[in-house]
Symmetry: D2
């Protein structure tokens, strides 16, 4: 079994999480880490026992023994790093998004295509077991023809205003995971229509939204709806439902810990209760591991990783169409967004 040398570009919270996963992937070995913030970089180096560390991620790409890069840096650097890594012939795993505009995304992905390097975009939810099993069942025809789709995506609290200002907006930053799940489970979208608002005045001042309901008309005739909120008092709320002519599949928000407590309220009535997921890290931890395992399995077998450059492009396009619908208060056809 060939071992692939990895350069970990970005040693923040998500980078460290990926580093931990890499430690348990037999055919991956971190040889270089890069982060301008010294404590993060050093922590990653200690954890991974990497040989090299760099302030500048571009340098790590060219370190000896690097076969693949994991791009976990701030969004603005994704596209240039993709281009640099592709030109250096390295396999690429990149967190979403490639960039915040279609043009910049297309330019970077064009380099990927020309160099032919393996490329995987970090839509981790496709690897979450209920999502991937649902996909299998849909492909096997167990739901018949899909007629309706619905998803909910709510975060416990909004990111900082500073983060939000550079995020590309709620559709690109938050809803894109649900939009990608819609594409993954149902198919390509023809039209999109959004009703929503910013209840939070600081978010409104950024011309961004915090509460949105998005309708999707799929090419296969199905209609979907996604509800997103930047704030949720009870924690992370992710559910998806696919309704077809032969049945329905529900990917549910089960309790985080399968433990039910029964007791008495102060009003004297009986109750049962359980805890709830707080955020994406405790809900999708397994998916983050599985996506990297899949990436290195693809490298081992020489197959094309998934989700692909096309998925990175098309899910961004859908997010941009939804953004336009929100601001222009009208139905937007996907073909308008080029």
């Amino acid at each position: 079994m060939k071992t692939f040398g990895v350069a970990l570009l970005g040693c923040g919270r998500m980078g460290i999480e990926h580093a931990r996963t890499l430690l348990s992937i037999p055919n991956a070995r971190v040889v270089a880490v890069a982060d301008p913030f010294a404590p993060a970089r050093e922590a990653a180096k200690t954890l991974t026992r990497a040989e090299f560390d760099f302030v500048n991620p571009e340098e790590a790409i060219d370190a000896p023994g690097v076969d693949a890069v994991l791009i976990v840096t701030p969004t603005a650097t994704h596209a240039p790093l993709i281009e640099a890594a592709a030109k250096a012939g390295k396999a690429i795993f990149c967190e979403k998004p490639v960039a915040l505009t279609l043009d910049r995304t297309q330019a970077a992905l064009e380099v990927v295509r020309q160099t032919g390097v393996p490329f995987q975009i970090g839509f981790n939810r496709r690897f979450d077991p209920p999502y991937s099993k649902a996909k299998e069942k849909i492909l096997a025809g167990e739901l018949g023809e899909i007629r309706q789709f619905r998803a909910v995506g709510r975060d416990p609290a909004p990111p900082s205003l500073e983060y939000l200002a550079a995020s590309g907006g709620q559709f690109i930053d938050q809803a894109v995971h649900d939009l990608d799940a819609a594409r993954f489970l149902v198919g390509e979208v023809e039209e999109v229509m959004v009703w929503g608002t910013a209840h939070n005045p600081e978010i409104a001042a950024l011309n961004d939204s915090d509460t949105i309901t998005t309708m999707l008309r799929f090419k296969n005739g199905a209609v979907g709806v996604i509800e997103n909120s930047r704030i949720s008092s009870y924690g992370y709320d992710i559910t998806t439902e696919i309704f077809g002519t032969h049945g329905k599949i529900v990917l549910d928000a089960t309790p985080k810990t399968p433990m039910w407590q029964y007791g008495q309220t102060s009003a004297g009535t009986g109750y049962l209760s359980a805890d709830h997921y707080h955020f994406f890290m405790d809900r999708f931890l397994e998916a983050y591991k599985l996506e990297l395992q899949a990436f290195f399995k693809s490298l081992e077998h020489g197959t094309s990783p998934n989700p692909s450059a096309d998925d990175a492009f098309e899910s961004l396009r859908l997010g941009l169409a939804a953004t336009r619908s929100y601001h222009e208060k009208r139905v937007v056809r996907l073909e308008e967004v080029v």
Copy 2:
């Protein structure tokens, strides 16, 4: 305790179900039944031990000892029977809808208002314990400000084409229950927008739909979405979710029978399974009882029954606005529908 003499107008399936409930309401006594179909009429008479039976429902209104009428006849007769009963000074419980147009509805309800007779419209779902408890919790502020609402309403199979042709269409006939639930739980609606279609060509030929997704913009700023389908392979599918700044309430489609069976599939893997509600009668049986109990409790205490004539009118208006949105493929403001 005064006993109210009841004329049961209409002895079909729903009429008989109401008759059964009346038998267990201490202050109600069926004195007259009416139905042009002799076997149904006679079955109702035997069951209720009513003294009188009539072919023509209008005659039953005037039978001796009648204080209240239950209108469970075909839709086209609702408005004239309401007017006749109101003019005769009888309390009225009427299945929805009053009529298929706003004008006819308004005319009938105007007679109700002028005569001052008690009037209740049969939006039974408001009496279903999870719905009424959710309403209590919302009124108590447990959800904070409502931000998003979603509901699903799917029937196991469409009615006959003959029934559909006279039904007023999917919004008035089926979705109106979900539209009324939205008004009940969240408040009045300002705008509506529908995406849907008729997958069934016979339903398409009636210019009606069978699969619709309806967006609602409420006056309080919340956005709602309702999914309806005229066919559902797994049975009756009714769920509702209300999301607010302080929490979320889910009215769920639990198994019909709280019995879980564990076994092995033919593929050799373990499973657990339960049965599912087939249709509204097994899901909302208790609500049908509770709405009649509430009606006779109102009569006893001299209070105004609920849902009221206004609810009958406003929920129809919402259904008509949705119908218009479906056909005209545009956002419709409620104030357009007068």
Copy 3:
């Protein structure tokens, strides 16, 4: 359809509940009510519109038009009323138990057998839909051979000490429902063994228990266990599980209201919660209705009602065997109890 005239013997809470059910059973009509407590008797008469009312239940048996009696009086009167009704040729529905001793039970049931009158004992749980469906599935062989059985039965709070003193003890008064369910679902029992205690000193002073775990060895080789408690902070706790060679069935304690509330605890963590059944009346209300419907259906069709006199006898015997095991701290064989 013949209508059966009913004498309701006992107009307490349970009697009134049965009266309400009788009102909705088409072939039953209450003609007489009896209770020494005037307000209860009068309330029942008003509710049922019975023609006759009596202080003494024995007189009601002989009132004109009485075909069947419902015995809902204090336990000590059950056996004599059964004998009187049987000798008068009336069909009998009797709340459990017939009596607190086998001898007295046998004597009363002997009169029933000799007179051949229909007799049903009020083990209502057999009519609860999950129990009756489980029974169907077991009979159909869906579980294969039964190997293990478990049940839980916990009440929110113990009855009064006065009631307890005359109750026959926890096994006869409380556990007997679970013991009967064990017989109903698995079969007859050969040996019983109890470990338990009275944590409450007042119950201990009555030489009774409040917390018991009962093991059952069934004749078919299965082993069962039942946990009972006289007190449960969270309300009524009833679950049953049957494990066989082909699968398992769980009759579960679902939330009372199918409504989930999501929110945030004071510690800032998310939760979901639902309410819980308080006591047998809200959990088994439907079963109480179904058992009476079944009784009057048996009368109509001339079939033998179920559960039968034998069930009354055998489930009592099992309760007495368990009582003996508790006090003598040893395995008791059923055949010892005669």
Copy 4:
């Protein structure tokens, strides 16, 4: 952060699973692997990138750089390897059991005590999040005084007869996990009583059981019951329930994948279903990781690992008491087993 060099003794399925976990524990590094079976040994060496490999596990203990040993070898070798490792001053993580007799267990643990090396026994279930959270809640008094305990442990299929013959029997091999969970959650046991049998004649021929129900009388007055079966058509069945004066906690067998499928049975009725855990590896995978993390965290902080040598001893003693009760068909006091 000091890194602990690890000798992995035993490279079978469980050994490999532990090796994978070790790869993601930053302060652990496998330096030696040992297994007489060459392909397993080599696979482990490749996976862990260990420097040394040995046919004989005793030699691996003394390899350069070894600070700790993981004993994942056949049961009969546990005690001698514990003694050898303890004498060599190595920290020890050992799969259960230490040995099949109390004497041999005591002898090995005596060496551990004398040498003072850290020792952890592999009762992984204590690290499963619902179990550890339940423990926290019990310690915090949320259940009040514990009154009743119940557990179920069923395996999909029995091991080979060869394995069974050397396993120590169903109580030591299978039920011991539930017995340890009972000790962990409720406390020490005073008396035990078993009813059970071997339905499988080959297992009966080994004088072993396959279906057992075990009653426990705890020193604190609670009564517990555990049901075990060596075969379960629907897969791995593990549930635990703790009932106290203030409430109840249920550790439930939720679906393996949180995905509900709704459809129609061949009989035309609707259902919902989910999949079920197959065996301990998919149910307790996280617990296996967490127990090793806890072990290396103890080493790092110099604290005593848990579960301890005492837990290894006491849970075995409870298993032996239950075994004796099964064979002698009587209540066995724990103090008898020395």
